[in-house]
Amino acid sequence: MPYIACHECDLVHRLDEIPPGGAARCARCGASLRRPKRDSINRTLALTMAGVILFLVANTNPFLGFRIGVQVRETILATGIYQLFQQDMKIIATLVLFTVVIVPAIHLLSMLYILVPLQLNLVPRHLARVFRLYMFLKPWGMMEVFMLGILVSIVKLVKMATIIPGVALYAFLALIFVLAAMAVTLDDHLIWEQIDYRR
């Protein structure tokens, strides 16, 4: 029988089975203790899979094209970062690389690492460590910020050049939503519980 402490007021509760769709609240302060998610592992895994595909698409296809006169310039995400690096904006380039490519990649990979075994009723090794890494890096995934930046620059560049949105842009957009959906469907308590149960 698991016990749970309210993370607001530290009142310890005995947590019983919560019916589907229900939510457990703190008896004292009313903070949300637990809201079990339906079919969490399965759904998150599906979204992760979609995320991986979108991530690949977003990184290999043309991201944006500019046409000035007869000159056409097409970039993929990596060349954009490379260009930034070339133009001596190394910190920004590193930051973009980290927040837009590396973190989401680790995100998706760690999810796969955790969820695929769990789906098959196995517990992966170092689950706690990987999951903690995931939780640690989660705030650093800033694809939506990058997306906003892109949108702002597009609005600014529209007057100077014709913008040709590439496939990667749409994939990127979709990836943002998929990552958000993953965050929604993932039941972290459940993951931690898995460690308990299957030890």
Binding site: A46, L47, A50, V70, V72, T79, A174, V178, A181
Partner: protein, 555 residues
Amino acid sequence: MTENTDGSPRIADAAVPVVKKRRSISIVWIVPLVALLIGAWLVYKAVTEKGPTINITFETAEGLEAGKTKVKYKDVEVGTVQTIMLDNELEHVKLTVAMEKGADVYLTENTRFWVVRARVAAGQVTGLGTLFSGAYIGIQPSREGKPSRHFKGLEKPPVVSGDVQGRRFNLVASKLGSLNPGSPIYFRQIEVGQVTDFKLDPNGQKVEVQIFVEAPYHRYVRQRTRFWVASGLDINLTANGLRVDTESVVSLLIGGLAFSTFPNEEPGPEAAEDTRFKLYDTYEAARDDRYTIKRDLIVEIQDSVRGLSIGAPVEFRGLQIGEVIDIDLDADFENLNFIVPVRIRLEPERLKVASPAGEDDQLERWQRLVDKGFRAQLETGNLLTGQLYVKLDIFEDAPPTKISFYKGLPVIPSVPSASQEIMQGVTRFVKKLDQLPLEQIGQDLQHTMAGMDRLVNGPDLRNAIQSLRQILSELETTTTSLNAETVPRINTALAEMETVLKDLDGWISADAPLQGDLRQTLEELAAAARAVSDLADLLERHPEALIRGKGGEGK
């Protein structure tokens, strides 16, 4: 287990249902499925739309940029440069170009690539647009030939793009002159094509000029067509005045070619692609080279050949029938004899020969000519420049000689040139003049003059003149008396003579009695003669009649 956890009553022996976990696929899996489908579609598209990747080498990558420079045909993009690298020898740049899908069909060994940059050449400005857009790679697709993926880029854009109909030809020239790719080609002063390229032949002896003649004019290039350089001005000073010819002002500036098929000649069939033609330096050279039969001869010249140049005309009675092609100097140190064998090339077709001789008859024909006095002679063609030409003619008084051979070629004997002869004559004359004892003559002459002087001014002559005068005056007196006395007598004598002549006329006129008498006398004389004849006859037959008389005959 006696009671349930919720404490509800337990029904003994109740069957425990087999709880099967629902293994249905959650609807969420549609999301990755859609993503997968999109991804797969993208991959499929990328794979199927990917055209062939080719390599092009260039001398330089000036103006080219990886990922940016396009390959364009008729201003339509058909490829993009992917990478630019130096080759291992650091001599060329290697371009990897991703071509559009479907490019395979026209990527053959005949396909050409070149870099289009702004260029000013041969009176044309091309590629100005590239000043703003950057250079791009031009392609001249070709469906013929073996498929290829490796190309050598041209440094200069081809002058004629591949979609222009026409024909290419090669011209062989001794020098390039002012020709350049893009130099125009004229046919009857219409621009019909361009020079596309030129190169030195491997031996470095000739220049090969490649030209392109556009349709439909390429049909006028026949097998006997001749090309000549039409650059520059052709100025002719003739009896009609000054005439200036040029194909066009453009060709004046940038050079050009012209071609024509000359009249009086069988033009032959249309020339095939890549036919080789000779390129003549001038229109005249092209016009005069219609003679295909050439015959080389040697003319041995004893005089100086100063002023005789290779290419000098060989004339027969004022008509050019060939040219000098070589001048040598042959030294024979044993006899200290120097001979200049001048090699001439005759074009026998220029002579309208009634019965063309075969190869074997040639020599015999030359020998006959030489026997007749056929000789070569150097003549001054131009008094100002002293240019010489070889004159062939028949000199009736030339000493007969046999045709000899020099390096296998028949040698036409020569006679000294007319000017040479005059010079020799003058020299001889001067030499003789030199030998005259002029001083002696002068002295003698002086003597004579002195004697004459003495004679003229001496008393003898004066006396002589005086006596002459005396004689003359006496003669005058005599004449006067003669006039007074003698002349009337003579007149009388003449009148008498006239009378006598008149009488004489009367005597001898046809009806004069003298005539009748004379006739009668003659008749009688004839009768007498007949009688004598009869007598002689009788005597011949009967000589005895002389003794016995005529009567004896009757017995």
